[in-house]
Structure formats: structure tokens, C-alpha cells
């Protein structure tokens, strides 16, 4: 196991180097940050000098090498736009994004799984049909439309929930949390639904089809034949056996939730990393973009690694197979 983790970590470093390399190759095309950094009456010489001081006139492999060299020492530079160190900026924004993504993921599981089970058990029930229809909407509507619709209904028309921002936050060390205040919780509702809706319908449909599959297997029939109550059969036997694939998918989707947060954050003015990234793109704020892409890649890699480890822990078949292969040398 240790070897496996170490090997994966080594691969992660390579992947992140590659991500940074591609990012810097693309930065050639984002435009010139200098015109946004100086006043309109700054002379051309001063602009050129600033460009030179920032190393923007170097070829991209040189810029890349310099970035990697500094990043290894933990230096990510200053945001061109805000003159705040990038690592501090990202640490400021990370809690907002993670709280939103994790809430959305939790919502996905807590609502998606029961809905999936229900639709599998009552295939033709009216409620199940309703769930299936709603899930179609969830899959087909893009998040920004969902977000705007939710704002229109719950903020503008009903006035129940805030349309933007994160509400009051409480600082715990460097982590700022909105989970402990009423306004923070209220602010979380609409963005979390917007962000989680697609994944929720995905999980629901996944659970449903897996359940239908499992319910047809022999051991379910035997369990029923033994006279076990329905609840034990459905939840103890059937659901448990669908969860392996559900957890795998959910884990992978968590990465997507963090990445998709860009759109949701823009719609709800959620002060997270996604909003920061969009702002950085408009401004050609290269240090911020580079750092965000690296952090994003890191999250994907870390989640994948966790899922791979979980997979081996959860699914006993994997362990047995390995044991057989090694122990009996078939």
C-alpha cells in the first residue's frame, strides 16, 4: 500500500509540472496584464520597463522555469491586480470553495441516494416518475440557468434567501467558515443546490440502475426466500452492494464539483477560488491563474488517490483476488 501511495505521489508531481507547463504555454494568449496595471497616462517606456521587470517579455519556457523554481520555494508571487501574495489569496478563498463543494456533495449523497433507491423500488409509482422527470431537468439545465432561476424565485419573488455572497463568516485560524452563522447557512442553500443538482441526478440515476441490477441477483432472491423483511433486503443487502460504484463515482465527481464551482461562484458572487480565477482571466493575472490551475490539479489528484485507496479498502473482492493471486500462485 505504501509503495502504491508513494508511486502515485511521484506521478502527481509529474502531472502538476505538466499542468503548469501547458498553463504557461497558454498564457501567451491571454493578453497583456500591463495595460491594466498602470494608469492610462503611463509612458510607453515605463510600460515596457514594468513588462521587463515582471519577466513578461521572456519566452514562455523561461517564465515557466522561473515559476517552478519559485513555486518549489513556496513563492507564488504577487497578484498583478490586487498586489496581494497569491498563496495568501488562495488560502483566503479556499474555505469558501471547499465548504460550497462539500455541502453540494453531501446534498448529492443525502438526497440522490434515497431518491435512487425509491425510484428503483417503486418503478412505476407516480412519485418515482416525478423524480425521474425532475432529474431530466437537473441533467439538461446548465448550472447558470438553474442559479438564476433559483435567485429569481427564492430571492427576488419570495425574499427568503440571499442572492449573493456568503453572509457573515467566522474566522477559525486561517479558515473562514459560513457554517456557524444563520446568514452564512442561508447563503449556502441556493449555491449548493445549483452546484449539486447535476451530480444529484447523476447519483440518483446511478443508484437506481445499480439497484435494479442487484435486485435481480440470486442472493436477493435467497434473502427473500429466507423470509427477511423487505427493509433488511433493500438496505442491508441491495443498497450496500451498489455503494461501491456509487462511492467511486461520487469521489470522482467531487473533483468536478470543485472545478464546476467556477460557474456557480460567478452567478452567486461566492467569494471562492472559482470567482477569483474568472477575475484573474479577465485581468490576465498570470500568477493567480497559474497557482489556481496547480491547486485545481492537486485537488483532482488527491481525490483520485483517496478514491483509489478507498476502493481497495471498501471492496473486499479486490483484496481477496489479490490474496488469491499472491497466495496460491494460480
Amino acid at each position: 500500500m505504501l509503495v502504491f501511495i508513494l508511486r502515485r505521489l511521484a506521478q502527481s508531481v509529474l502531472v502538476m509540472l505538466a499542468v503548469a507547463f501547458i498553463a504557461f504555454a497558454l498564457f501567451n494568449y491571454v493578453g497583456d496584464p500591463v495595460s491594466g496595471m498602470v494608469g492610462q497616462d503611463t509612458s510607453l517606456e515605463d510600460r515596457q520597463k514594468l513588462r521587463h521587470d515582471l519577466g513578461l517579455d521572456d519566452p514562455f519556457p523561461v517564465q515557466y522555469a522561473r515559476f517552478v523554481g519559485n513555486a518549489v520555494q513556496g513563492k507564488f508571487g504577487l497578484s498583478y491586480q490586487q498586489a496581494i501574495p497569491v498563496d495568501r489569496l488562495i488560502l483566503d478563498k479556499m474555505p469558501a470553495t471547499l465548504e460550497l463543494s462539500l455541502t453540494a456533495a453531501l446534498l448529492t449523497m443525502l438526497v440522490g441516494v434515497p431518491m435512487g433507491v425509491y425510484t428503483a423500488l417503486h418503478q412505476d409509482g407516480p412519485l418515482a416518475r416525478l423524480f425521474m422527470t425532475v432529474s431530466l431537468i437537473g441533467i439538461s439545465l446548465p448550472p447558470f440557468v438553474v442559479g438564476i432561476l433559483l435567485i429569481l424565485v427564492f430571492s427576488v419573488n419570495l425574499g427568503w434567501l440571499p442572492s449573493f455572497g456568503r453572509g457573515e463568516v467566522i474566522q477559525i485560524g486561517w479558515w473562514s467558515t459560513g457554517l456557524l452563522t444563520a446568514s452564512g447557512l442561508k447563503s449556502l442553500v441556493l449555491p449548493a443546490i445549483t452546484l449539486g443538482l447535476f451530480q444529484m441526478t447523476l447519483i440518483m440515476r446511478l443508484v437506481r440502475s445499480e439497484m435494479l441490477e442487484v435486485l435481480r441477483t440470486d442472493y436477493i432472491r435467497f434473502a427473500r426466500a429466507r423470509g427477511l423483511p423487505n427493509r433488511t433486503v433493500h438496505f442491508g443487502h441491495a443498497l450496500k452492494n451498489t455503494l461501491v460504484s456509487v462511492i467511486t463515482i461520487a469521489g470522482l465527481q467531487l473533483g468536478a464539483l470543485i472545478a464546476f464551482a467556477v460557474i456557480t461562484e460567478t452567478v452567486f458572487q461566492w467569494p471562492g477560488m472559482g470567482l477569483m480565477f474568472i477575475q484573474a482571466v479577465t485581468f490576465a493575472d498570470i500568477p493567480v491563474m497559474a497557482a489556481y490551475l496547480l491547486v485545481g490539479a492537486f485537488f483532482f489528484l488527491a481525490i483520485n488517490l483517496c478514491v483509489d485507496i478507498l476502493y481497495q479498502i471498501i471492496d473486499p473482492r479486490l483484496r481477496i483476488n489479490r490474496g488469491t493471486a499472491n497466495g496460491y500462485g494460480r
Binding site: Y29, G36, G77, Q81, A83, F164, T282
Partner: protein, 530 residues
């Protein structure tokens, strides 16, 4: 089990109802939002109207603008030109910064040095000052490079900072972007103004509270002012409609009608000082992006006039801008010192005359030309360019439009390369005086600080001569005549195609009374709430 479920449900209901209960809103708290964030609390860090306008609530200049944009005493109580190149200012006594330290001439000297230090973004505001002298604790003198009749207008956005505070907090220079550290002044502020910084969360919100020890009698009745950044147009409007926000700017033009129809809300608008215009490359011998080879059609005045008269400004105003624009005939708009109603008359829209002019110039079938346009800089910028392209197509001109984000667009069209043949640009003279526009847009390129944004290389010897003369002319009437002459020559030569002043459009709750400045600055000191 059912008992536990019941308990769980009860808890959920309690939490939800607590969360949903509406909190009482303090009557005198103003909440307002903009599509951009005030990116720093350091008033020297960026020469940008949002930042300068916001920090103008916290910091003060020597001479500020009153409700009608006219200069009035702030930190200076009186001023006079004691010699053609010397301005003397008497400073206000018994003024304290928010941290309690007194204001005096040392702070002015310090602010002058800081404003022209290498990382400052506002050296332009004090560009004409050669030297600052402290006469005594409450008198300073500025020596200008040449006679400068409009100095007090130029320095109204140059705010005075506290020397002791800056030295104590190691913030004597604005942040150096090539280093890895931020300065204290980016997150904190210590001015003399009517409001004090209470809370600063970059990219989220910034809270101001009134300064109880302000030297002036407050006209506002606010107890708190909360500024939020809401980038998304739809969300910003929704926040206003839902009552979470009392005032927003920028208002998306397509939502203006809906807001105006909503009871309790109103739209406040007036023409902005900025003029949006089109320009031609009239310097190169062959255009970079055109089907015409071996010569430059824009060197021919008839071609420039044809382009001008092919553009239907009324359609742009009513259809593209939905009425939120005021057409202009010169490179300065109403509200700028030197503006003249007669000169502002536009040449008529006349496509058949335009077609004839093109034929006379030797292009009966028109030609192809590339056009550069930003898509996130001015209101409806790309849509205007598309409309122009369509109008020019009617006289046979094929426009290849290249609309892109400002970071890429400015990099292409600005110096040193000036890589464009036909472009859109906007200009606000920060001094609200015509000289700044003339110097940056019309002066021939080459001489220091001349024609920096003269992207197309317009050049006229008489206009150059006038621009330099205007700079030092102390007689206001003579000065205005010279401004008019320069503008008239340029207009008759069709040097550019001035389009319009876009409108500063704000949306505000009826309970809020405010003053809207034509430079899009929102001064809190005039705000009253019911």
C-alpha cells in the same frame, strides 16, 4: 425510532426557521454594489475611477469637487498663483487623521513624494508639479514645470496620506508588484475624510462608518455604508430587486427599463465625461489590415469623411445603447472644460454622400479593412462595432471585426506597435479639462508625453502648436478660444469619428438621495436616507 425522528425533525424545523427569519435592517445603512471590486485600499495603487472614487470617501485632496464638480476647499483653505509657475496653498488647521495624528505640511510633502515614487500609479495626477516646498507647518508651495492654470482641477483626486502612519507601518511606498509582499496600506486606510474604514474583506465587502471628528459638517445621515462586489449582471440586479442592496452601478442597459418600472426603485443617469470614438491609422503608407495595397486610403480626407457620414449615430443611440448615450461632434463631451455646443453638432448621416465620396477618392467598390474593438471595456462596445460594420457594408466597405478582451485588445492597438488600421477607443480626461484629451489623443506622437493614445497617428502642426500653447495660457478666455480652434481643425479634417458620451447609469432605491458625478464617482458625503 419514531421518537428520534420526531426530535430530528423538530431540530431541523427550528434551525430552518431561525435561518429564515428576516433580520431587522438598520435604516441608515447604505448597501451598494459595483461590478468591480475596489482592489486596494491604497489610493496611489491604481489610477482607476472606482478605486479613486471609493477612497475619496476616506481620504481627502487639498481641493475637492462640490456637487456641481466645481473646486472647493478641502484640506487647503485657500490658494493662489503667486507667480506664473508657483501655486501657494494654505492648509486647514486642526484636522486629524482617523488614527488621531494631526495633519500638516509634512503630510503633503510626504504624499507628493509617495505619489511620484516608482510604484505609484498616479504620477499623472501631479505630472505638472516639479517641486513641492514647505513654507511653514500650514503653508505649501508647488512649483510647476510651466504656467499651469488648471492645477487645482488636476489634483482633486490626489489624496493626502499621513506620514507618521505610513512610516510606522512600513507603507511609505505603494506595493512593488515584482516583490512578494503586500503593503499595509493595501488593506488599511487612514485618511482625514468623512468616512473611516471599519472592515475590509478583499473581493467580498468593505464597510465604512462615519468619521465623528470630521472637520466639515456632514451633509449625509448614514451610520454605516457597506460596499459589495457583485460581478454578474443578473445577480447584481436581482440583489437590488430583492432589497439586499440599495444602489447598484453599473446597471446593465437591458435591465434599465425593468428597474425603472419596479416600484420603489429608480434609474439615475447623466452623460459621462468619457467620449467613445473611432480612429483610423493615417500614418502608415500601407494599412496593416486592408485589401488596399501600396497606399493608405485613410490618408485621404474624403475616405475618412465617407466613413463618418456612413455611420447612423441615431440608430446606435436608440437601438444599440437603448437611449443611454449622447452623440458628440468633437473629442470632448459636455461637462469637460472647453466644451462648445456649436462644435458638438455632428456632420449629418448621409450614406449616399458617403458612397459618392468613396467613388471620388477612387474606391467605387469599397475595400476591406480590419477593425479592432474591445468587448469588455465600454458599454456595448462590441455591439457598437458590429453595428458600425453593418453600416459601412452599405457603402461597400467590408469590415473584418476583431473584438476581444481588453487585455488583448489594448496590447494590440497601443504603443509601441500601434498594430491597428481602424479601431474603437474611449477617453475620459481625468482633469475634466480639454487639454488632457487634446494632448493624449490629437498631439503628434514623438515628443515626450504627447499623443500617447493617438493610436492612428493623427498629426497637424497647428493643432500641436495650440496644444502646447493651451498648456501655459493663463487667460481663461484665450485658452478656451485655442481649445475651440484645435477641436475645429480636427473636426474639419475628420481626424477621428467621435461617437458618443455613454451614460453613467445608476439604479437606486427611492429612499436614498444621492449626487451622481459625471465621472461615475459616487460620493457618500452627499447621501441621505429616509
Amino acid at each position: 425510532m419514531p421518537k428520534r425522528l420526531l426530535l430530528f425533525a423538530a431540530v431541523i424545523v427550528t434551525v430552518l426557521s431561525a435561518a429564515l427569519s428576516i433580520q431587522p435592517v438598520s435604516a441608515k445603512t447604505l448597501r451598494w454594489a459595483n461590478d468591480g471590486d475596489v482592489i486596494s485600499m491604497d489610493p496611489y495603487s491604481r489610477n482607476e475611477i472606482l478605486l479613486i472614487g471609493f477612497m475619496g470617501n476616506v481620504y481627502e485632496p487639498l481641493v475637492r469637487r462640490d456637487r456641481n464638480m466645481e473646486p472647493e476647499p478641502a484640506l487647503a483653505t485657500a490658494w493662489a498663483q503667486t507667480a506664473p509657475t508657483v501655486w501657494r496653498f494654505d492648509l486647514r488647521r486642526n484636522v486629524r487623521f482617523h488614527d488621531g495624528s494631526p495633519f500638516n505640511a509634512d503630510d503633503v510633502m510626504f504624499s507628493f513624494e509617495r505619489a511620484r515614487s516608482p510604484n505609484s500609479n498616479i504620477p499623472g495626477l501631479i505630472a505638472s508639479i516639479k517641486e513641492a516646498r514647505k513654507i511653514d507647518d500650514y503653508t505649501v508651495e508647488f512649483v510647476t514645470y510651466g504656467p499651469d492654470p488648471i492645477l487645482i482641477r488636476e489634483i482633486s483626486n490626489w489624496f493626502i496620506m499621513d506620514r507618521e502612519w505610513a512610516e510606522k507601518n512600513n507603507a511609505t511606498r505603494p506595493a512593488d508588484l515584482t516583490k512578494n509582499e503586500e503593503t499595509f496600506a493595501s488593506r488599511n486606510a487612514n485618511g482625514t475624510g468623512p468616512f473611516m474604514l471599519k472592515e475590509r474583506q478583499p473581493n467580498v465587502r468593505t464597510v465604512l462608518v462615519p468619521n465623528p471628528d470630521w472637520w466639515d459638517k456632514p451633509e449625509h445621515n448614514l451610520t454605516e455604508a457597506v460596499f459589495s462586489w457583485i460581478a454578474n449582471d443578473a445577480t447584481r440586479v436581482a440583489a437590488l430587486l430583492s432589497g439586499e442592496i440599495d444602489m447598484i452601478y453599473t446597471v446593465p442597459p437591458q435591465d434599465a427599463d425593468r428597474i425603472a418600472r419596479t416600484p420603489g426603485l429608480r434609474i439615475v443617469q447623466r452623460p459621462e465625461l468619457r467620449v467613445v470614438f473611432l480612429g483610423f491609422d493615417q500614418l502608415r503608407d500601407e494599412l496593416l489590415e486592408s485589401s488596399v495595397k501600396g497606399k493608405n486610403p485613410f490618408k485621404d480626407k474624403r475616405v475618412r469623411q465617407a466613413f463618418y457620414q456612413a455611420i447612423d449615430i441615431e440608430t446606435i443611440r436608440t437601438k444599440v445603447m437603448r437611449g443611454a448615450a449622447v452623440p458628440v461632434g468633437t473629442m470632448i463631451g459636455e461637462g469637460v472644460n472647453g466644451f462648445d455646443k456649436a462644435l458638438n453638432e455632428r456632420y449629418p448621416y448621409d450614406p449616399s454622400a458617403a458612397k459618392k465620396l468613396l467613388t471620388e477618392a477612387g474606391y467605387p467598390n469599397g475595400f476591406d479593412v480590419g477593425m479592432d474593438c474591445p468587448n469588455d471595456r465600454y458599454i456595448n462596445d462590441e455591439a457598437i462595432c458590429r453595428a458600425v460594420a453593418g453600416m459601412l457594408a452599405r457603402i461597400g466597405i467590408t469590415v473584418n471585426l476583431n473584438a476581444q478582451t481588453r487585455a488583448k485588445y489594448f496590447n494590440k492597438i497601443l504603443g509601441p506597435a500601434y498594430n491597428t488600421s481602424f479601431y474603437m477607443l474611449g477617453w475620459t480626461p481625468p482633469t475634466a479639462d480639454a487639454h488632457d484629451s487634446l494632448l493624449n489623443l490629437l498631439a503628434s506622437r514623438g515628443a515626450a508625453n504627447h499623443g500617447l493614445f493617438n493610436v492612428g497617428g493623427y498629426s497637424n502642426a497647428r493643432v500641436d502648436e495650440l496644444i502646447d500653447a493651451i498648456r501655459g495660457e493663463l487667460d481663461p478666455a484665450k485658452r478656451t478660444d485655442m481649445i475651440h480652434e484645435a477641436l475645429r481643425i480636427h473636426k474639419e479634417e475628420f481626424g477621428h469619428i467621435p461617437l458618443h458620451q455613454q451614460t453613467v447609469m445608476w439604479a437606486v432605491r427611492d429612499s436614498v438621495q444621492l449626487v451622481q458625478q459625471p465621472d461615475n464617482i459616487f460620493p457618500l458625503r452627499f447621501v441621505t436616507m429616509k
